[in-house]
Amino acid sequence: MTGKQKKQFWNLIQTTLILIAMFIMLVPIIWIFLAAFKTHVDVYQLKLFFTPTLENFATVFDDPYRLGEKLVNSTIVALVSVVIAIPIATLAAYSFSRFSMRGETMMLVIILATQFVPAVVIILPFFVMFRDIGLLDTRLGLILVNLAIVMPFAIWMIKGFIDGIPMDTEEAAMVDGSSRLQVIRNIVLPMAAPGLVTSAIFCFIIAWNEFLFALILTNKNAVTLPIGLALFKGEEGDLWNLLSAAGIIIMAPMFVLALMIRKYFVQGMTMGAVR
């Protein structure tokens, strides 16, 4: 083989490997998409071609599953968690980014560390407390606990974005007589806006997909979508066509959101350790 042929051959191998890898990564997702449009007869066969139906989507929203209620719960819980977390995190992130404080590193490490504490540790005391004060199976309870995972992410991510904003505009405005709070509102917030939106989307995805807290704290009124998946166990086993339809409702909106922030999600997930 000549050098050129060798290179072409090598390229072909690489392309094939990439296609195989993509196929493996996508096939479980595609399979769910297909199954969601199959009838309950077709879903129990390895069929690639079938007459699609929308019936499953109607069924999951109907009695007794009522996935609509779970959808509302998931949306409210994730949205409110983010709406509480982002402003609080932004103020803290600005301060961590621009000032040096006593014990700053310590505080940042602790905030980072809370992210790594197993959720099952956090939830035990909350379960006991919520049982005593009547917050079990409420959206409020779920929102409060979600802050435990969303807040540290938000602080670290937003800090990363504010670190990237040069300080000179702020300093110039201060010389011109603006107060620090005016600077934050008029200069930092507009410049950090894309970063704030990215962080908000990121936190929304995390809160939306959260499973363990909702599993332990809810059983009827505040059940979220991922917990709702457990509904589709019939007497003859799993109802795969309905599970798949519910799966699409859970994952499709997150796919859209994730594609919007794809450039940033490595930075977000590593809390700034990799940029």
Binding site: M25, L91, V109, P118, L147, R180, L229, S244, M254, A258
Partner: protein
């Protein structure tokens, strides 16, 4: 207002929230771990019994050691496999171009998928009658044709590991692609001009440069592997028997199903200890950048 006061006021709300939602439960879990702590027995949450829960876990509960073993093996396998496969995929995808950047975009999708749903999807894929992966493995390797994956302890474990690796490869790959981008091109080219083989270039130039990113990825993945709960719950619920019962699942089961809050809090705290070391290691990398 002076900056000196303001800077503390700005972080105050965040510190309060983090304390209330993450630090307080840790402390309270520690307290509970020294009590009788039965959910159905009023007053037992304030009934202190010293280290009894801990000694119980250590000396009287084979199921505890089983979950330690499951978690350790699970962490070892998932961290190793995910890192290796992601490194390979990152090398393949790093050069860029149409196909490769399209592939990078698609990699976001499994990340956005709820881990619980990943568990469901793998239970689907390995269904003995109409699971796609089940059919595939059966065709490629006939002895596996008639097995019921999730009913066999070892195979169920393998499926849980596969689901985890599948779910985490995309994230690790994207991080490593970022890391590869920062390896200086001229060093690689210089080595190639000097006649170094592809493998030598990788081992002596790329890998050392990638070191810190690789370390970050391995620590982070270890933390997430140790905590694993969602997929396991949906995929096998710890079974068959306790073959796939991770520590998180064991804690959940004892605390919520049997109502032994005190005991499960003690196991939970045992789980926090390795996390402290990993977090310390991770923090070093985060602040190295500063």
């Amino acid at each position: 207002m002076r900056d000196n006061t303001l800077k503390y006021l700005l972080v105050l709300p965040a510190v309060v929230v983090v304390f209330a939602t993450a630090i307080w439960p840790l402390i309270e879990a520690a307290r509970l771990s020294f009590t009788v702590g039965r959910l159905n027995r009023p007053g037992s949450l304030d009934q202190y019994i010293g280290w009894e829960n801990y000694t119980w876990a250590f000396f009287e509960e084979p199921a505890f050691w089983n979950s330690v073993y499951v978690t350790a093996l699970y962490t070892f396998l998932t961290v190793g496999l995910t890192t290796l496969l992601a490194l390979g995929l990152a090398m393949l995808l790093a050069p860029g171009g149409k196909l490769r950047s399209a592939a990078q975009t698609l990699l976001i999708l499994p990340f956005a998928m709820s881990p619980a749903l990943i568990g469901v999807s793998f239970r689907f894929m390995f269904n003995p009658e109409f699971g796609l992966f089940d059919a595939f493995f059966g065709a490629v390797f006939p002895p596996l044709a008639d097995v019921s994956w999730l009913a066999n302890p070892n195979l169920a474990f393998a499926v849980v590991v596969m689901a985890d690796v599948w779910g985490w490869i995309p994230f690790l790959t994207l991080v490593l692609i970022g890391g590869l981008a920062s390896v200086p091109r001229d060093t690689v080219e210089a080595a190639q001009v000097d006649g170094a083989s592809g493998w030598r270039v990788f081992r002596d130039v790329t890998l050392p440069q990638l070191g810190p990113v690789l370390a970050v990825v391995i620590i982070l993945k270890s933390i997430f592997s140790l905590k694993t709960f969602d997929q396991v719950f949906m995929l096998t619920n710890g079974g068959p028997g306790t073959a796939t019962q991770t520590l998180s699942h064991y804690i959940y089961f004892n605390g919520m199903k049997y109502g032994q809050i005190g005991y499960s809090a003690s196991v939970a705290w045992l789980m926090v200890i390795p996390m402290i070391f990993l977090t310390y290691a991770y923090a070093k990398f985060v602040f190295r950048k500063g």
